[in-house]
Structures are given as C-alpha cells and as structure tokens.
C-alpha cells in the first residue's frame, strides 16, 4: 500500500512547480472562488465555455473540470465537446454533478457526460452520487439529504461499473475506484456554511490530477489538502465570511511538509 501522506506532499509540490493550467466549464456561482482557490494553491485557472473554443482551450490544459451547477442546454454541449477532446488527449476530466437528483435536466446531463466522455473522477455529495444509480434519489437543490456512509457501498459499485473513481465528500470523505477504498477525515464544520465548498474540492482534485496519473491518489490527497486548509481556516475564523477568506490564505500557505504531517488519510 503506497504512502499517501508522502504522495500528498509530492502532489502539492508538483502543482506549485508546474503550475498546471486547469480548464473549467463550471457554474456562475463559484467561478470567482474556484479560480482564486486554484491560483492560491499554485495552479493556473481558465474559465472558457464557448462551444467554438473549448477544444482549443482544453488542448493546452492539464485537466478539465465539468461542473453542472448552473447548467443550460448550450453549456452541456460545450461540456461534451471539451470532454470528448480531453478523452482523446488523455487529459484527466473531473465531473462535479451539482444538484444531480434535484431535476431531470441535471440527472440526464450527468448520464450523458458519463456516457460520452472518459471521466477520471466524479466528486459529489452523497445524494448526488446516489442519483447516478438510483433515479429515485432526491437531492434538496444542491444540498445532500443522505450521509456519506449510506452512499459508500453504492459508490463502490458505480465506480466499478463505470471504470472511474468516485469521491464522496461530507464530514468525512470516501474515495473508491471499485477496488480501493480510502477515507479522508480532514475538514471543518464551517465548510458547510460557504457556497462552492464542494466545487472547490473538485478543482483541487483536478489540479492534483494534472500532476498525478492515479485518480485515486489524486482525489484522496487533494481532499486531504483541502480539508487541512479548512482546519487551518477554522482556527482563525469565527464565521463563514472570514472562513472563506482564510481558506484561500491556507491554500497558499500550507507547505508540502505541513500537508504530509497533517493529512488524515486511511486506506481500508
């Protein structure tokens, strides 16, 4: 079993050295914050969604983020196009199925993206992940109504069937490729009181995926880094406004050594 604490430190150092370009087709709510998170940690974000430019843009990127948080039909077309180009080039794609299960447009768009592209990692909350299999799973807008534990066994089956890695985030995170199962327990309760926390976890997984060929370790170490930044922010902030600012500071300040020492990753 590999040492995932070492791997976490290596991935963070590699992002800061290589500054990978992360191409985001994402939602309006989090664009600013996830761009800032990527910049703060040392990556280089670009947001581009026009159907006529996404293939060119993804061709120079180290990873692609597809996030359906405020989707509309034309954006889905761009996501598919960018995703197919990335699949062709072997560029890792990270899908964030925001609100899947809340409306058919969301659930169906996720199904289509899964079918038409080769995803490295799908990161969602428990309800979103359950909706990938159970049409009856309900999501309350973009918030989970299920626990990480409820979703774990299903996630393992989905990962196996789809030949991808699933990362379920919540108070504790659960990462699986159908075979390996990893638990990450870094984090802070205020993360649930800031919008786009899940979306930010997704872009950090994308940045780590740009420097780590193994989706399982990229997802697990990325979530540990993100959770550790949450812990650092939670020590400085008393409310969600300060917390979201301190998160950006922490993503910038945490060193690979501090990450190695602080990450709480456990493989089953």
């Amino acid at each position: 079993m590999e040492n995932l604490s070492d791997k976490a430190a290596q991935n963070l150092a590699a992002v800061r050295e290589k500054k990978p370009l992360i191409h985001n087709i994402t939602n309006y709510v989090v664009m600013n914050y996830t761009a800032n998170a990527l910049l703060a940690m040392g990556a280089s974000p670009v947001m581009a969604h026009a159907v006529s430019e996404v293939e060119e843009m993804v061709s120079i990127a180290g990873a692609l983020v597809l996030n359906i948080g405020t989707l509309a039909e034309d954006w889905i077309a761009s996501m598919i196009k960018a995703g197919q180009k990335a699949s062709e080039l072997g560029t890792p794609i990270i899908l964030d199925p925001v609100g899947s299960g809340a409306t058919s447009l969301r659930t169906n768009s996720v199904t289509r993206i899964i079918r038409e592209t080769s995803l490295s990692v799908i990161r969602g909350n428990p309800s979103e992940i359950l909706s990938l299999r159970h049409n009856e799973s309900k999501t309350k807008g973009v918030d989970a109504v299920h626990s990480v534990n409820e979703a774990g066994a299903t996630a393992k089956k989905i990962a196996e069937e789809l030949n991808t890695t699933i990362a379920i985030t919540g108070p504790a995170d659960f990462i699986t490729n159908g075979e390996r199962v990893i638990h990450v327990s870094n984090g802070h309760p205020l993360m649930a009181r800031v919008t786009g926390t899940g979306c930010t976890a997704t872009v950090i997984i994308a940045a780590f995926s740009a420097v780590d060929d193994d989706p399982v370790s990229a997802a697990a170490t990325g979530l540990a880094f993100f959770g550790l930044a949450g812990e650092a922010a939670g020590q400085k902030a008393s409310g969600p406004g300060s917390f979201m600012i301190e998160m950006l500071n922490a993503l910038y300040e945490i060193t690979p050594e501090a990450l190695k020492a602080g990450c709480k990753i456990r493989e089953e």
Copy 2:
C-alpha cells in the same frame, strides 16, 4: 398591532430550524454573495435558470427570487415560467427589479413579470420602485437618484393597485402593502459601498417569506435583520472589503434574541 421585534426573532429561528430551500434566478454579479448570505443565515440556496428545469426546482423550494440585474431575453422566459409555477403552488415570489427605469428592456421585463406572476414582495431602491409607475422615472444604471421619502407615497399606491408588498430600501427602509406602513432604520453607510447589498436584502426577505405567511412582516423583519448585520459589520470593518466579509459573519452569528433586542422597526 403585532409585535414585530418578536416576529423578527421567530422568523430567524424558524429559518435556522427549517433551512428552507431558496430558488434564485438572479444576476451574475451577486450569485456568489447572495448564496453565501443565505447559507450564513441558515437557509439553503440554489441557483437554477434553465427553462427546462426551473419548474421542477421551484416545486421543491420555499421561496423564489427573481432578480433582473444582468437579464437577457432567455432568462426572462425562465423567470416567467418559474414565477407561474410558484404562483400556482402558492410559493412566495420576491422580485428585485434591478435597474428598472434605466433601460426599456428592464422596465418592460418588470412589467411583464408583475402581470404574469403573483408577487409577494417587490424590493427595490427608490428609483426602481418609482419606475414601476412613472415611465419617466430614471435610474442611473443600478443606483437610485431618488430618496426613499420621495418614493413612499407612490409605493403605497402601487402596492394597493398590484395587491402586493413593496419594500423600498435606502438609508432607512419603507415597507407597505398599501394599507400598513412600516419603517426600518437598521443599517450602516458602508452598505452602499458593496455591490449586491440590495440583492442580498432581497434574498433575506425571501428566506423570511419561506417561514412567514405575511409578506409585510417577512419583509420588515428581514430588512431589520439585514440592517442589524450591517451595523455589526460596520463596528468591525473600516472599509468595504472587510465590511462585506463581516456581513456574512454577522448573518451567521446574530441570534434571535440579539435580533429582537436590536431591530428598529416602527409601524405607522
């Protein structure tokens, strides 16, 4: 005459207990900030604008926010569709007519939304509210050129004619349903130096409307809560950057008891 300080405390406690889902079809500028404000105060925000999903989304929501700040034709169609579904279901709709009076597209879209949906509350600055009646009222972009006092009498007539509640915000706020008139004097001058202050007032009214059947008390107590958060933020912040962060902290930290003690609501 009901005790609105008690009602304010009850509404805040109810939002924190029930965590109502607030469906927003709003402008790009404030999406992140208003989502954060709703999360900070204890509600659950979702932003969704695709014409093919708004009916489903609003069906699971406790209130609907329609905000025309960066409108375009297709978004208006979604607003109407969501608004009609909400009207059918009896779900409260809060309209923010951002920049009404500045361009015909805005003024006409507001007219259409008013005609085709059943609004609980319209919240705007004095110039925006005056534009609902006087085509000649001019708005400077999205900023008011009239005072709250100038707009009060007109607001009373509009509220009566449209059978809705009007909330005019400014240094002091004025709420009326054509019959009752309430003044709220909580607030802080730095609120005028942060973008989306009015839009944030609107989503807070929406969250209170999800737990309070009376649009007049939902609007008045929501604005008192928002203004009190501004006062708390103003004590900690010297500039608009820190102020907007401290606002989110205050929306999270103010207790129902503190709101009861601090709200400045006067009914005529």
Copy 3:
C-alpha cells in the same frame, strides 16, 4: 511634460466627486470583484450585456469596459453594438483582451472589436498584447508567457498603427500611445495570486478615463492608483484571500494626497 502625480490625485478626486457610471460587458469570473472595486473607489458600476439594452445603457455611462474573459458569440455581438454606440458618443472604451492568443475565438474577437469600435485604451498582459500583432503569440489560458519588456517595443508600434493607447501590466506597467512612453512601478507580488487583478486594473482605467480626456494619463494614473492599493494591501495581508479584501479597503481609503505622494510614474 505634465506632472502625472498631480494628475493622479486630480483624477481620483474627480471620480469620487462625479461618481461616473461605468458600463461593463465583462466576464463571469470577475463581475462581482470589479463591481466592488468600482464602488470602493467611488465610481458607480453597472453590468449589462443584453443586445437589446446595451445601447441605452452605454448612453448614460461615463465609460465602457469590454472584457472577453468568458466570451461567447452573442456577448461579442453585444460588445460590438455597445462599442459602436460609445464610439458615436465619444464615450471612452477600454478593452481587456483576456486570453487573446490562447484560442482563435479570442484572438479573432479582439481583432473585430478593434476594427469596429474606437478604443481609448487596450489593457492586457504581455502575451495578450503581443497577440494583437503576432498571430503566433501564445497565451497560456489567461496567463502571460512573455515579459513586459519583450512586449514594449511591439506595443509602441501597435498603439501607433491603431491610434490608441496600450497599457501592458505586470510586475511593472508600460503605457504608450505610440509616442509617449510611461512606466508605472507601483504594485505587489500577491496581485498575481488573485483572479481578476488585470480585469480590475482595466475598470480603474475606465473610471479614470471617465474624468480624464487623455487616455495616456488616465491609464498611467489609474494603474499607479491600483498598484498603490496593492502595496497597501500587501502590508496588511499575508495570503491572497486577505489580500483581495484589503485591496478593496485600500481603493476606498487611499486619499488623493496619499496617491500623489505614493505613485511611482516615470515618463521616458
């Protein structure tokens, strides 16, 4: 040679007195932050992109910002329409060619805007500015791969050919109209770790252009003001999260006198 320190102080005082309306057709990532920057410094921002309202909106504005950061075909049409109206009215237009050189859509859209409107100032990073002339110039997403020095000589030729003012920003800024050459050396390294720094520089140039007829001095003094705010923020902030908040505070707090004393502008 005019005294640009005096001019900087005059421009800042004039913005605070006149509160010019700045009409932005800009990207989703920075809309909130640039609106806040404009409000913090004393101007009045409006974001409006619908093709049916941009002419009306720009007619009441003091300057127009065109920023292609998350462009799509219909937004380009609105930019051209607003730009032509502004050109007709003599309203200054500031273009931010975000990511020009990274995809053909971006490079071609910039070419079209340049050809069909009368621009006062084009502000970009070195790679974006080089792409205006050399089709072979490559941009890494939205980040520069060239230095300000490499781009200076080319900028001078472009400014002369296009009869406009070019502002290249980076660790030091370079402003030219083909004849005059000005260097501004205010700034702070953390500005590179916050998204939308360049876009914010652009809107500040726009606000100064609304009160200063000379594009060269508007650009140079605007960039000195922005860089000085960065210096003030850098003294208070240790990471990018706090830095972006302190920038807004500084844009609000810096007085015309402090700007006069602190600006580092050198004309060749």
